[in-house]
Symmetry: none
Subunit: 419 residues, 2 copies
């Protein structure tokens, strides 16, 4: 029978609000995917008595205790020592962990320090939950019948890796992941949450699969979730709903699940056998950064020019100094010349440019913070688009929206070219 | 005497991992600022029995219970009804709340629905905690001596507004916010958490201020926190500890609080009156993105060339095709030529370059994933540095570490130039 899980996140930094508890969200989502019920989450500081109290409460209402945090090398990292105390067993040193830590330090040209020895001490009887990405291993431990403990470090990337590589196979081997909640997320750009809700709101009452909308950083998502006895049957339940929602969503739906606008654009560039270069002013390289975050992007992305200073716009991109002086760097004309300039200089099919006022300073009477021009040069046509993203949400927001919107213009242009 | 607080976040969406619990971080930070201790946080679903269990546990160990979530109009919003049950009082309808909700709906051209009536039902004896931004009000309630309850909705913007406008004045009026915990975070690059702990570990036993280490994404931080009767006196307690830790930390300490490596580098460039350009291969513009995330960076950052494809390295950066063919794109030689090339073409004091194998593909027998060369060209000298970041933590990690490490090389060089 599947156990009831409980999450226990250890760390005074969580109680002080220094960090966001993203591990809790990740693990909650993963438990839901595996169909393992979980009714409570606790956060507790680096204090052995309080950790013990949380463990006692959790043992009364759950059988699978999942910990994050408190596995580091410093004295305030107490999770394993406290668990050993809780269940009355000593800590045992694992030489293979020490050897592994020493090797990892050597790879990065560093020397292990004495306090790393602590990380090789695990409660007697506990198995090592390997952490190939970091120094601190976790444990898989059944200290008594009906209590299974998994521990992870606090570093989110390590938690994700260890969960996928070790915890999921372990949970499946125990027969604890027999039902599943499987979700698919459809991603939209260029439509507001309320407009999308107007179009597809009749689906929000659906019971299984459920459909729910989310909005974040200019993007809108629809999550379709099905509860079933296997991933395959959940997928079968989701498929027709997804097809309908995609049809209703139309061109605004750019992808699903882990897709990004950069991935969607990359797919279309490869399909059409075309290449891309970018010219960036206010985004300073972030658009190139998004495009190259995609593994394999070298097949269609050749590079770009970051023309933050106007001398780079004229010197390297060939923007006409007279046009720059007349219209200003933030204008339709300069956006077009930047896009055409980078396309010609890098010899790509497409040139995509961004010039704007990211703020909080740099605005003028007629050019407010958030005003951004996007240029798009194809083989035979150069277009430009004006956007007003506003000043209220700050510099990062304007830059992020500029990059996404530029990618979305190219995406729509590539889709049209396809038709 | 100040109470001990406990956070209770209600919502099945938190248990499903649909949303990140940003309310917990916000409230934790606020409690710390007010000097109100808080040792536990709980998350529980929209289930009356389980909410009651959490309330009972919390009453045993805290005297100020702060709830978020479960105040909406739908049947799964149960917080107020469950609290009334818990303390054995009926719900009472507040006509002024109903009138307020009706008015808010009218303002947006909407009509109140019958389910909004539910939001006007509060436990008998509870005061209204006004929510001027949304429909759901919270409560301030002392159901029995030594227990005070504050409730907030789940929407983060509403929580923030209600906290500032109503909760803080209330807590101060009770004399519960007379102390403060003030923290300062020192930031380090180029040293491991355990090595830093070796140097400053004697401080980890300090009681007030406390000193604690954190590590994240290649960076190590030391948080110095002081508990005092005012921010000013906390700052006075922190200042000498900070000075000592900075001295012991030496050149590895690059800044404090909201500083980034890009901000630290920008400060040094401005101080030395020098300018910077970048040439990026595997990071594809992300280094430029980090530099221009800093408002005012146009004073010293002129731009760069994203030479993702080799044709851009030779064509735009002037890398010698023979050197490229002999040593490969990922080499000391190419890194140096990229850095010198971008410095010359953009006419800046410094040129900084990155070329490497971000993975997961693209490696060869002698050049593994994670191998990265950083080039740094100054007025009279061109250096390069080899790093091996490994393949285990993935593409994003290699790219992030490459950018940070490049900035750190420039930072150390600028500090040397200064001396």
């Amino acid at each position: 029978m599947a156990p009831v899980a409980e999450l226990i996140c250890v760390g005074t930094e969580l109680l002080l609000g220094d960090i966001l508890n993203s591990n809790a969200q990740f693990l909650a989502k993963e438990l839901a995917k595996l169909g393992i019920a979980h009714y409570y989450q606790s956060v507790v500081g680096d204090n052995p008595d309080r950790i013990q109290q949380v463990v006692r409460t959790a043992c009364d209402r759950a059988s699978l205790l999942i910990f994050t945090g408190g596995l580091g090398p410093t004295p305030d990292d107490l999770t394993h020592a406290t668990l050993a105390d809780c269940f009355g067993v000593p800590l045992v040193e694992h030489p293979e962990i020490l050897a592994d830590i020493a090797q990892k330090f050597a790879q990065r040209g560093r020397t292990m320090t004495p306090n790393n020895h602590k990380q090789a001490l695990l409660p007697q009887g506990a198995q090592v939950l390997t952490n190939s990405g970091g120094s601190a291993p976790g444990i898989i431990w059944q200290p008594r019948p009906n209590v299974t403990i998994l521990t992870f470090p606090g570093v989110p990337t390590e938690v994700k890796y260890m969960w996928q590589e070790v915890a999921i196979p372990y949970l499946k081997s125990q027969g604890w992941a027999q039902n599943t909640v499987y979700s698919r997320v459809l991603r939209f750009w260029g439509i507001s949450e309320s407009s999308l809700a107007d179009k597809v709101g009749n689906w929000f009452d659906s019971i299984n699969p459920t459909v729910a909308p989310y909005a974040n950083l200019g993007e809108v998502k629809l999550r379709i979730s099905a509860f079933a006895d296997s991933e395959a049957s959940a997928q079968q339940m989701i498929a027709p709903v997804e097809a309908t929602l995609r049809q209703v969503g139309g061109i605004d739906c750019y992808g699903a699940d882990e897709d990004t606008l950069a991935i969607a654009v990359g797919r279309l560039l490869q399909k059409t056998g075309s290449t891309l270069s970018v010219a960036e002013s206010c985004t300073g390289g972030s658009l190139g950064g998004m495009l190259t975050a995609v593994s394999g992007s070298s097949a269609y992305f050749w590079g770009g020019i970051i023309s933050y200073d106007n001398s780079v716009k004229t010197g390297l991109l060939g923007v006409d100094p007279h046009v720059l002086a007349t219209h200003g760097a933030v204008s339709h004309e300069v956006a077009k010349q930047m896009a055409a300039g980078v396309r010609d200089r890098l010899n790509t099919t497409w040139g995509l440019s961004i010039t704007g006022i990211a703020g909080p300073t740099g605005d003028t009477d007629d050019k407010p913070v958030g005003l951004v021009y996007i240029g798009l040069a194809g083989r035979d046509r150069v277009e430009s688009f004006e956007h007003r993203f506003g000043a209220l949400r700050g510099r990062d927001w304007v830059r992020h929206l500029s990059c996404c919107t530029a990618l979305d213009h190219l995406r729509r242009r590539l889709l049209k070219a396809e038709m």
